[in-house]
């Protein structure tokens, strides 16, 4: 692992509080994930790739915006690994970069419909912007 990857890995581990070494590679997180079909990298791969230090691949993948943060993987993981928190830490590293915002406020009006609750908008802004 080069020092840049090492540094990125360190940041993800610190921000998420996740101990990837607890993973026993059972795949239950990916077995339970409701967003599996929409993701390029799946929850168990996040955990494993973070362990390997492959953070950039994850940061550049749309998978980080597809995670529903539903915490099913967190509560069902037999080892207490908390994959969703790892995904979130990677996503935050991506949106915190300069020009890393995934969603711009000016895009929102076009996406709205009259029934859409405010909750959807504030959540999206929180998830996709720094």
């Amino acid at each position: 692992m080069n020092s840049k990857n090492e540094n990125l890995k360190e940041q993800v581990l610190r921000a998420s509080g996740v101990n990837v070494l607890k993973c026993m590679r059972c795949g239950k997180c990916s077995g339970t994930c409701p967003a599996y079909g929409e993701m390029e990298y799946h929850p168990h791969q996040f955990v494993y790739m973070i362990e390997k230090g492959d953070i950039e691949k994850l940061m550049n993948s749309p998978s980080i915006y597809r995670c529903l943060t539903c915490f099913a993987c967190v509560d069902r993981c037999p080892r207490g690994v908390e994959p969703a928190k790892a995904v979130e830490a990677v996503r935050l590293m991506a949106v915190r970069k300069q020009d890393g915002n995934r969603l711009k406020p000016e895009q929102i009006p076009d996406m709205l419909d009259e029934d859409m609750p405010q909750q959807a908008i504030v959540t999206a802004l929180r998830k996709y912007r720094k």
Partner: protein, 663 residues
């Protein structure tokens, strides 16, 4: 005048690489009373022991200090050597400079300094040692086996075979345990009942074996060779001496809606019942939670139909007390409840079953007479999904941190049996790892894959959704294909983790023996004493010590029996002379020591004392039974007046040690 010899061991490089042993020997040679201080490569070797023996003779030593490994390793070795050289074995002290020094330090200077202090401490203690003589205590030539599953049965048979009396205490109405519920056994696929029931019968017919079924241990007192055990014989409301086991009462009993434990609750039994056809003893038992006569005094059918007049609604729990020389614990296990893992929908769908339930579904004596049918609609399942490691290898409070060890093999067995009997059934097994380290085990698992075409999928199921059309959607990951699978199954089988029986924890307290955090009994040494508990005279048999399959359980049961036989063969055993005694002049009769003594070794008696004014006063003072005392020292700490003292660990010796450390 003390003449002390100090012997510092290198233990190869174990000690010598971190402790400057020569410097330690040299430093200790200047301690008061030390007349010889030597180092040697392996003090426990024959030549090392000879070094000690010769020094005892040559220098007429009054005490020996060995600076070496833990006393748990070699204290006895050196005591014996000194005894052979004519020195009382209790004039030997061990300074542990390996486990407590060289192994835990890296810096030579610090470690050496600490080794010197530890050596000096032992010298301070040995100076105050007094010669002690062991006493002998007789051995009661009878064993108690707690638990009547295959482990308990095997231990009892082996002990009985050696000519000793054995009592089996079983909490259920019959012996047989979990093995009686199992259909076939891996890896040979022979029928469990066919190999178990002859052993059950053998146990009941062996004149050395006495079975207390429907009974529990309620109190244990005493010590190795001489335990006094109180056994609760639960009221079964049937006179065991009269019941012939004809079963007429169970046919006539009108209360027919009681969940049948033997069939894992998959069908019902009556309130008066015999658990299964081959039960031993074959005696009826009334379940007071369901019997209408016992609940509201209305019925009495069983009593009317019983020609032997065995039914007795007024029966009460009885207690008996017996003495034993050895106790074998064989309390077994249970699968954990799947209810906490409802992502697998066990509580929502009758067609999600545990592996033990599947055993009954497939068993000829089970609810479907041996035909595999779904519990919900009694149809043949065409697609079956097995989920392994449910609750095993878990790091959260839902499951267990350990591998339950038996599930990989029984799942392969189930899969294979189903494919054999119903070749049109598709069988999937979700696994994390397949663990098959037993004789012929991996071959067995490979046969399931290669010969029977069971689909093994590396991955775990995350969600099970029962559907209105009777299918069960199983969503899981296939990690090798990097896919999320959805299988519409007809039956889902959960390989639940196993846990020690709930009765084990209170029993451990009664036996003053140790358990680990998972409530498995702890063996005296994980490698070298695997069937003995740390408490002398208590032996461990079967899953109560850790997850095991049947062959391993039987092997361990026989090993535990061999250890128990070894004890029962002796007429008497040597007691530890390091026991407590009370200074009657200092004792104020407060009973503090009596309350803390876990062995019941302390009694109080009224004694006459001649007072300085020549009158006689009667005072209540503590008295220790040295045959019962185990030398734990609790009383010496509890005693407010300092009257209690422990041989070999006297208050003054301990203070001398503390002073030596602080010097």
């Amino acid at each position: 005048m003390n003449r002390i010899g100090v012997f510092v061991c290198h233990c190869g490089t174990n000690i010598a690489s971190t402790v400057d042993v020569k410097a330690v020997a040299e430093a200790l040679s200047h301690e008061r009373g030390v007349v010889i201080s030597q180092d040697y490569q392996y003090m426990c070797s024959e030549s090392g022991q000879n070094l000690v023996k010769n020094a005892i003779k040559e220098h007429n030593l009054t005490g020996v200090v060995i600076c070496s490994c833990s006393p748990r390793m070699h204290e006895n070795t050196f005591r014996k050597a000194c005894s052979e050289a004519g020195l009382n074995p209790y004039l030997v002290e061990i300074a542990n400079i390996r486990e407590q020094c060289s192994w835990i330090h890296k810096d030579i200077t610090t470690a050496t300094e600490k080794a010197v202090i530890l050596g000096r401490t032992a010298i301070a203690k040995v100076t105050l040692n007094t010669p002690l003589t062991s006493m002998e205590s007789p051995v009661v030539k009878r064993a108690l086996v707690i638990g009547g599953g295959i482990a308990g049965i095997q231990s009892a048979l082996d002990i009985a075979e050696a000519g000793f009396e054995v009592d089996i205490v079983e909490k259920e109405p019959t012996i047989g345990g979990k093995m009686a519920q199992i259909d076939k056994t891996f890896p040979t696929l022979d029928c469990a009942a066919c190999i178990l029931t002859p052993k059950m019968v053998e146990a009941s017919q062996n004149e050395n074996i006495n079975i207390y079924s429907f009974s529990e241990v309620s109190d244990v007192k005493g010590f190795v060779g001489n335990f006094t055990v109180k056994i609760k014989r639960k009221a079964r409301y049937v006179d065991e001496t009269k019941c012939t086991g004809c079963g007429l009462c169970t046919e006539k009993c009108p209360m027919k809606k009681v969940p049948n434990e033997f069939n894992a609750g998959l069908d019902n039994r009556t309130a008066i019942y015999i658990p299964f056809a081959q039960a031993v003893p074959k005696i009826a038992t009334i379940d007071p939670n369901y019997c209408m006569m016992l609940k509201n005094g209305k019925c009495g059918v069983c009593s009317k139909v019983c020609t032997a007049g065995a039914v007795d609604y007024k029966q009460k729990d009885e207690f008996i007390e017996k003495k034993y020389g050895a106790i074998v614990v064989a309390t077994g296990y249970n699968p954990i409840s799947p209810e906490k893992f409802d992502e697998y929908a066990y509580s929502q769908c009758p067609d999600v079953v545990t592996s033990l339930e599947l055993e009954r579904l497939m068993n000829a004596a089970g609810p479907n007479g041996g035909t595999l049918l779904r519990p919900s609609d009694k149809k043949h399942p065409e697609k079956i999904v097995f989920i392994q490691c449910v609750g095993s290898r878990c790091d959260d409070d839902r499951g267990k941190p350990y591998c339950s060890k038996i599930c990989c093999m029984y799942t392969a067995k189930h899969a294979m049996l189903i494919r054999e009997k119903y070749p049109d059934t598709e069988v999937y097994v979700f696994y994390i790892d397949v663990r098959t380290p037993g004789k012929n085990f991996d071959e067995f698992y490979r046969r399931a894959v290669e010969q029977y075409n069971v689909h093994y999928i590396k991955g775990m199921v995350g969600k099970v959704t029962p559907k209105a059309n009777g299918k069960i959607e199983v969503q899981g990951s296939d990690m090798l294909a990097d896919e999320q699978l959805r299988i519409d199954a007809d039956l889902v089988v959960l390989a639940m983790a196993i846990e020690p029986d709930k009765s084990a924890r209170p029993l451990a307290t009664m036996l003053t023996t140790q358990m680990d955090t998972n409530d498995f009994f702890t063996e005296a040494h994980p490698k070298l004493r695997p069937v003995e508990s740390a408490t002398a005279g208590i032996f461990l048999s079967g899953v109560c010590q850790g997850p095991k399959d049947i062959p391993e359980t039987v092997a361990q049961a026989s090993a535990a029996a061999a250890k128990a036989i070894g004890l029962l063969c002796k007429n008497s055993i040597t007691c530890n002379p390091c026991v407590a005694h009370s200074d009657e002049l200092m004792c104020n009769g407060c009973s503090a020591c009596e309350k803390v003594c876990p062995y019941g070794a302390i009694t109080y008696e009224n004694k006459e004392f001649r007072m300085p004014d020549r009158t006689v006063a009667v005072r209540r003072v503590a008295s220790v039974n040295p045959a019962v005392c185990q030398g734990c020292g609790a009383c010496t700490v509890a005693c407010p007046s300092g009257a209690m003292d422990l041989n070999g660990f006297s208050n003054s010796q301990i203070m001398a040690e503390v002073d030596a450390i602080c010097k």
